[in-house]
Every structure is written in C-alpha cells, then in structure tokens.
Symmetry: C2
Subunit: 406 residues, 2 copies
C-alpha cells in the first residue's frame, strides 16, 4: 500500500487568504453598492513595460521560424540572461558573481520551497515571525517543522524569531541555540522592514561560525530607496561561504504572471564536504527544465537602457503609492512602519485593536480590504499589512476613507 507523505496532513488550512475572501464576499453580498478598494493584494497591477513586450514579441517570432526556433534550453537559464544578471544586479553594485552561480527559475516561491530538496530533514530551521508562509509550509511538508500547535500557531521544531517594533522588525541572532537553515527576507514581507549591513553581518558571522546556511529572499530589492540598505546578502563580507540568495522579476518588473526569478549559490558554499552549487545544479537539471525562452528574453530586456528606465518608472509608481499610504496614515495619527524601501506598509492597529477586528472595521466602515498581520504569525497580531500595488487614485482614496473613520 502506498504511503503518503504524512507531513502534509499536519498542515493547517491556508486560512489567511481564504478567510479574507470569505469575509469580503459576505460583506459585498450584504452591501452590493459598496465600492471596495483592495490594499491587501501582494500582486502587481501595472502592465509589462514596452521593452519587455518588444523583446517577448521578437522571441515569439523566433520560435515560429525554423532557423531561430529554440527547443530545450539550459536548465540553469540562457547565458544572455545569466550574464546580464551578473553584470547589472551584482557587478554594478561591486559584487562579483559568476554566471554559473546564477540559476534562472520560474519563481522565488518555487526556489524557496525547492531549495529544501538539497538539505537533510534534521536541520533546525529559523524563520521570522511574522513570516511569508511558504518558508514554513514547505519545511513542514519536508518534515523539518515537527508538529503544529493550533493554540500557539507554531510548529514544534521551528525556531521563531520575533520581529517587533522593539527590534526594528529585524530578527536577532540566536544565543545559546544552534539553528541550521535561516530564512531572511529583506526588504521584508510583510513588515516592509530592512536590515542594515551591521545586522546582516551579524547573521553572516553567526552562520559561518556554526555552519548554518542563510536563505536570503531579496524579492523586493528593487524597492530600496535608502543608500545604506544592502541590496544583496553578497554585499556582506563572508556571505559567499554561508548564503543562498533568491531574487525575482515578479515585483521588480511586474513578472508575477510571466514567471521568472533566479537563485544564487556561490561556488565557495560547501557543507558536509559538498558544493551546494553542485547540489542545486543537480536538483535543477534533474527536476526542472528551464524557463520559457520567450520569458527569458523578456527578463533580459529589463537590463537594457530603455528597460531599466521603464521598469524604474513602474517601481516609482508603486513607491509613490507607498508614500501616500504611509504619510496619509501617519498624518491621521497612526503608527506606520515600512513603505520606504518596500511595497509593504505595516500598520500598528490603534488602541491595541486585534488584527482581525481592525480588518473588519476597515472593510465595513471604509470599504478597504487589507491583510491582518496575525495571519503572518503570532507577532503579527496587532498589525495590518497594506500594499502599494494598487492604482494611484484608488490608493489615495482608500487612505482618505481610512482617515475619515478614525
């Protein structure tokens, strides 16, 4: 008799977004005239920029002609894209990265989950609290999380690192406890916080000392505006021997529906005598077959002069939304975090109001849909996440509506 992976049965339901959808649907049904504005979405809304569109059209044409048709590409990505990434995302910031340290993929979500394939199940995994659920769920599925406790909302074998206003939403290195795989995401989803060089250096030093590996999610790197915020973990001395970095075109260039990302595994990164670059290469060549040629051509176009300018225009559009939300809510007397180097604004609910209660109030009184912070982990209680990915006019109106009910 086939045995299933019993770890799957331990997973709680995907409560957060289905519960949001349920409450929104119930409210809309009872109030069909209400015009809801959604500031809860983590998806981009602006179209792909003209340089990307042009490159994709050209690539589609190539695929329709015998002489230029491309079949299987390299599982790790075409050189034209890996080279462009190495040059523009790394060398331009003073970080040397070889093209064969860069693995092009169909998404940072896939990679953040699949990376577990190359690690043993006994590793102790550290995650931030609040956290992007994929880190937790994929480790639970792999048997690294232990048992789930409905009451605390925590897994028995995970090491949770509270990210609170007190520590600037930046987790601290564990003392007197060994952790092995450390998920860090900066700029952070959901808090919008960043980590500075000293903070990341402390993590790199810790990881090198105890032999841990940092899994650094830099999906929101394009939103950094402040000059002293690192764009890559590899700006930190020592990171090449302890870190893997996930980057994505999703938020950088509106590729959420286009599916392209990349993962960086330095050659110097070894554990148990094995090169993790070689292990990941083996994983990808065996269980993945590359990103569509047309999509890779589209991704490469963002590194052209025209592409860079156009992509920045879209980022600026979202950044203005973030400023509108942040400043509007601050003006209203609310305490707000994030939104400077990230598309996420982390709002402290007034008077210690529970996340879900404030979510309901915003929904019912302001007709604004948000995301309750408690859905991202226990330390998210008392917060609401708002995103900058909506339309400018709707975002501005949403802020005015929220201000009006306070």
């Amino acid at each position: 008799m086939v045995q299933i992976n019993e770890n799957y049965l331990k997973l709680p339901g995907s409560y957060l977004f289905s519960e949001i959808a349920r409450r929104v649907a119930a409210y809309s049904e009872a109030n069909p005239q209400a015009k809801l504005i959604k500031l809860g979405i983590g998806d981009v809304t602006r179209p792909l920029c003209p340089a990307v569109i042009e490159a994709m059209h050209a690539a589609v044409d190539e695929m329709g002609v015998q002489e230029t048709f491309r079949g299987y590409g390299p599982e790790q990505g075409y050189d034209f894209l890996r080279d462009a990434i190495a040059k523009h995302d790394y060398a331009a910031r003073g970080v040397q990265m070889a093209a064969d340290e860069i693995f092009v993929s169909d998404g940072a979500k896939s990679d953040c989950g699949n990376i577990g394939d190359i690690f043993g199940t006994d590793n102790v995994v550290a995650v931030c609290d609040p956290v992007y659920p994929v880190y937790v769920d994929t480790n639970a599925m792999a048997g690294r999380a232990g048992e789930y406790d409905e009451k605390t909302g925590k897994w028995s074998r995970l090491h949770y690192m509270p990210c609170t206003a007190e520590n600037g939403f930046s987790p601290v290195v564990p003392e007197g406890k060994q952790v092995d795989l450390i998920y860090l995401c900066f700029p952070n989803n959901p808090t919008g916080a960043t980590a500075n060089k000293a903070q990341l250096q402390a993590w790199v030093d810790y990881a090198n000392t105890v032999g841990a590996v940092i899994l650094f999610d830099g999906a929101y790197e394009a939103f950094i505006t402040e000059p002293d915020v690192p764009h890559s973990i590899f700006e930190i001395p020592g990171a090449r021997t302890c870190a893997i970095e996930f980057r994505s075109f999703s938020k950088t260039a509106g590729f959420t529906g286009n599916r392209c990302a990349y993962t960086v595994v330095p050659h110097e990164l070894e554990r148990g005598g094995a090169s993790l670059n070689r292990l990941w290469n083996r994983r990808q060549t065996t269980k993945f077959n590359g990103v569509p040629y047309v999509v890779q051509r589209g991704a490469a176009a963002i590194y052209t002069d025209a592409g860079k300018k156009q992509v920045q225009e879209t980022i600026s559009y979202y950044q203005k939304n973030a400023a509108v939300i942040r400043e509007g809510l601050q003006t209203a007397g609310l305490t707000v975090y994030g939104g400077v180097n990230a598309p996420y604004i982390w709002l402290k609910t007034p008077d210690g109001c529970p996340s879900w209660d404030f979510f309901d109030r915003l929904l019912q009184e302001a007709n604004v849909v948000t995301t309750p912070g408690a859905g991202f982990g226990p330390s998210g209680e008392g917060y609401i996440r708002l995103t900058a990915f909506g339309g400018a006019a709707a975002t501005a109106e949403a802020v005015e509506r929220v201000k009006a009910i306070l």
Copy 2:
C-alpha cells in the same frame, strides 16, 4: 552545522549524454571535415505552429496593456486551458475528467520528479529497464532508491522491470512482490513500445488490489497511430482509483522551449485516507506559482481547429521520419522496434554488438550520432535509440549512410 541531503551524494554522474558529447567532440576534432547527423536528440526541431505563435503574440499584447494585464494566475492553470484539455484530450476520447483534476505545469519532467513530494520515503518504486533516468534519479534524491551499485548499474531498493523483445518491451506485473509506486511510460521512451488495453488493465487491477499508485507518463501520446492503443491510462476501467497521468505539450506541439505540461490526479484517488488530488493541489499551490499566461494561451491554441491541423502536420513530419528510419533499417536487415506509435526507434545492434561499440561504429563510419541503449539501463544493452526529431532530408541521408556501412 547544516546537513545536506546525503542521498544526492549517492547519485552517479549523468554519464550518458556527457559521454556521448565527449566522444562526438573527440571525433569531430580529429575529423573536422565530417558532417555529422544527429539522430540521438530527444528534442524537437520544428518551429511552433502559426496558431500558437498568433496566440502568444496576442497574449504578449494583453500583458502590455493595463486593462488586460495578468498578474499571478491560478497555480493549477487557467480555466481556459484546463477546460480545453478536459474537452479535447479526454472527453473527445470518451474519458470524463473534471477541470480541477488537471494541474497545468511547466513540464512533465518537473512533475514526474515533484510528484514524489506527496509520497512517503518508504514506498517501493518500480521502474522499467530501460528507463527515462528522471524517474530513477528523483527517487534516489528522495531516499527511495537505497544504494547504487556501480557494477550492476542498479539501485538496491528499486524494483526493476526488464522490458525486452521477449515481453514486447512491456513490463509484467510483479508476482509475489509488493511494489507501491509504479512508473509506466507509453508510448515508451526509449523503446518506442506501446502497451495495449489488456496490459494496462493488468497493471490497474494490480494497483487497485495492492493499493499501489501508477505514475503514467503519456508524454508521447500524440505519436500514436494505431487505433487500439490507449492514449490515456484513464481509458482503462479502474484507473481513477490508482493512477496519476503526466502529459506534455513538449512533443505534442513543440513546446520543449516553451515549457507547458499537465498532470491529472482524479478525485477518487485516495491513499491512507487522503485525497491525492488535494495533496498535489497543496504541493502545487505552496511550491509552484503557475505557468506564464502567454505560454498557457499558446498551449490552448493547439486545441483550435487551425491549431489541431497544424500540430498534426508537425507530428506527421516526425512520423514520416520515424517510418524512414524504421523501414530503411529493416530493409538493411536490421531488427527494429518502435517508431510506429512513437518518435523513438529501438534498434537491435547486429551480431550482439554492445551498445557503445555500435554507437562508435555509427559515429565513425556513418557519421551518425545515436544514443546507446545501455545508457538507459542494463536491459538496454545491445540496443541503440534513434529519434525522429531531425530534419527529413538529414534523416533520410543518415539512414542511407547506416545502410551503406552494414
């Protein structure tokens, strides 16, 4: 200290294609005037058909305009594609399949490997010999294969099912042994063999009796020409309670560089009290983020009247190549299998010549590159795989060259 997945270290190198490349390069260097013809490739060479190109252009345009831009799509695929698959690939053949039993993905290779995520590591895995290496390697990586024996070329915990001329290259149901996960691929890579309804029925009955799950790879379904050959495992009564099917647009519509496939998991398929459809859905929603919108539109276009006709023209082109190879080599007195319902021809080497020796002879005397059968497993020894994916003129010339040296 991080522990790596030690199973990766047990994997032998990807010997087959690197060794072929090495021998070809060495010969070319020594004989720069030689014009090699490659009949070893498993990749398509004909361009995407006009209907697909047109649909992809239209979708690219949609992605460049605010009103029609698409961000994250459903992880399981858009309804327009799932519905088209259900209608044209299943209902049209008398098989009822609900859209939510169909999971659109980036490749059958990915799915064949990733499906292991939902199963426990203690299952006994049965594979054909010779076999597509992905089934073996991904199970070895997951810890299901045991230890590799260099001498026999076999893993200690895998159950190998010899596919030989004596059994028509169709494996027989194990007697007196329990296997749990059974990989079947028909039409077969590398032998080009098919399984008839009675043979598949025996597997379905076995799986239902012992609680096994059949992982049915139908990637070459489009090449079936004979009317009595099943196109899907779900044409077999009882399959809905014991089988998962992998299908792909790669060979059907030349999508090897476009990346689109799908996996079918019926609602009735339960093991350990859990619905495998729900487990796979959980796996895909957590570790995957869908196929690019543009690619899904391209895939859906093959189900239009124009698309069907154009795709069939390309299939027919390859089928003619297959007939040229098959009939040409038969005329030369060689024993040849496959090539009727598959793009693969499985050639018995003359006089019991070892695979690699005959490979060398074809390379050096006929300047034709093939794939030694021994590279697919011990039972492939004494065979050579040829593929129908080359150009028509080159394929015909290759056959004449081979005939000339015999």
